[in-house]
Symmetry: D2
């Protein structure tokens, strides 16, 4: 049985301290469930924090880099997938994840959530403002869940993995 891969997306350089704290905790919890963490791989913001959390809890981490080399890779990524294709790699992030968790919002994250919904992946919004929640829930009400804490997000991932709608 392959381990589930859970994607955590969110702002990079523009991430707030609150968002990186949520992401770090989320990374820890994902690792503790025995799941694999997948992020955009760069050494900043939500990506880096989630990877550090997962690494602290001895999890396995995959980073899907937009660059053509690993110079900007988070030090907490175990496996670097180097795409060299810039933002075109966003679709890989969501296609490779069974469930996508958005931790904070920005234009890059919005593209990943939109693509996830386009290809039928369930999305969990954590720490996102009301306007983001409304927008994405209107796009795909049956596949977008809003949560307030990393623990609640993890419970929701368990639900999605059980239904099998996430494969």
């Amino acid at each position: 049985m392959r381990k589930p891969i859970i994607g955590v997306m969110g702002p990079g350089d523009a991430a707030t301290e609150s968002e990186t704290q949520l992401a770090y905790h989320l990374g820890q919890l994902i690792a503790q469930q025995g799941w694999v963490l997948l992020t955009g791989g760069r050494n900043c913001g939500v990506m880096d924090a989630a990877n550090r959390g997962a690494q602290q809890a001895n999890g396995l981490t995959i980073g899907i880099l937009p660059d053509a080399d690993d110079r900007n890779l988070s030090a907490a990524v175990d496996l670097a997938i180097v795409t060299g294709m810039g933002n075109a790699r966003n679709i890989i992030n969501v296609l490779s994840s069974q469930v996508v968790i958005a931790c904070g919002m920005g234009s890059g994250t919005a593209s990943e959530v939109s693509l996830a919904l386009k290809v039928g992946k369930p999305v969990i919004l954590l720490g996102c403002e009301t306007v983001s929640q409304r927008f994405f829930q209107q796009l795909a009400p049956e596949r977008v869940t809003v949560t307030e804490t990393p623990t609640a997000a993890i419970e929701q991932v368990h639900r999605w993995l059980k239904t099998g709608h996430s494969s």
Copy 2:
């Protein structure tokens, strides 16, 4: 001097009649300005309608196809760019356009608008609901304009092309 390329994005099979009518008119007006029309190229919805409008007005049309062949190409596309890379082609749509016009909203269109904002392109929303307007204007207030008619959208494109923020 190269001609400006204007991207028109919007729902495919799920497009409403109102959206395809707006898109057809938009395609006509884009062609009449001497601009090149760029769409996702498929023979349905907003893409197809915009291409038919542009062709009726003797414009030049480019379609960036997600498929690996041209079987689902709009008959009104002059130049088919065949990518074979599915939704990863959405970034090409926006990087190749000087201005992106979203005519209606769905998850695919939302990914294109998000990517456009991510890479610094101006976006015009036409026929989009309030919740979409609020979401994208919050993401990038200085680069998102809401318009009600194709004519107003064209006037806004002229403004963006003059500022040079669209190159």
Copy 3:
């Protein structure tokens, strides 16, 4: 009826003068047949020379850029498709062309010829050394033709377009 799109691939900065002369002539002839020229779009080597030849003969030229902006675009490209995906764009070059002509050889061109054969496109080798000819003819004997002059290459394109194996 859409115009045929003919792809011309070849070395960039490493192109020899002989290769750029062949490419310039090829561009002229492609334009004179009423075909559209497609290249990798950059302002160097075979790409740039083919575009200049086509432009001199009033042809239409498309450039599929690896970069995320058009700073390195050949001045003789009419329509810039900006991919931002580096060498991943090579597959677009061949999928969008009815016939691929390699004018000289290098590792980038070799990847394009290989991908063309992989997806079933006919390939014409012009000005390539014996070892390249042998390699590609062994990979796909029925779809690789070796020619010595731009005129012979154009005659071969006409043959491929007639058989319809190139669509």
Copy 4:
């Protein structure tokens, strides 16, 4: 310290029994060195055989799928990266590998070897005919090595990893 990722490329459905035997052995040896195996991920030919070999030796395996879902995934892949971008994913295979080993030759494999050389990765040819050897050695003599056995290929990987030219 991240573990080295070694890419094994080769024919899929067209692989010979000799090629899949070499690939299986190669997969075993890669796992035994403590390296991660990366392939194109599909359940056929060289990809599948290398993954089965690595799995038998308790190695970690990554598959970079061309498809938009994991239906054709090799059962011996631990981590599926789902790209949905067809042959455009070939560049990811080589950018993500420190060293690329081609086990047999075909048009897809030729594109991967060519791209590897284009982006500066070392390539080892195993079980490839003379005409392939000559072609790629002419393209990049300093980065292409010909080996006759999986054991010799592994020794050559060790050499490349030591020089650091493979990062």
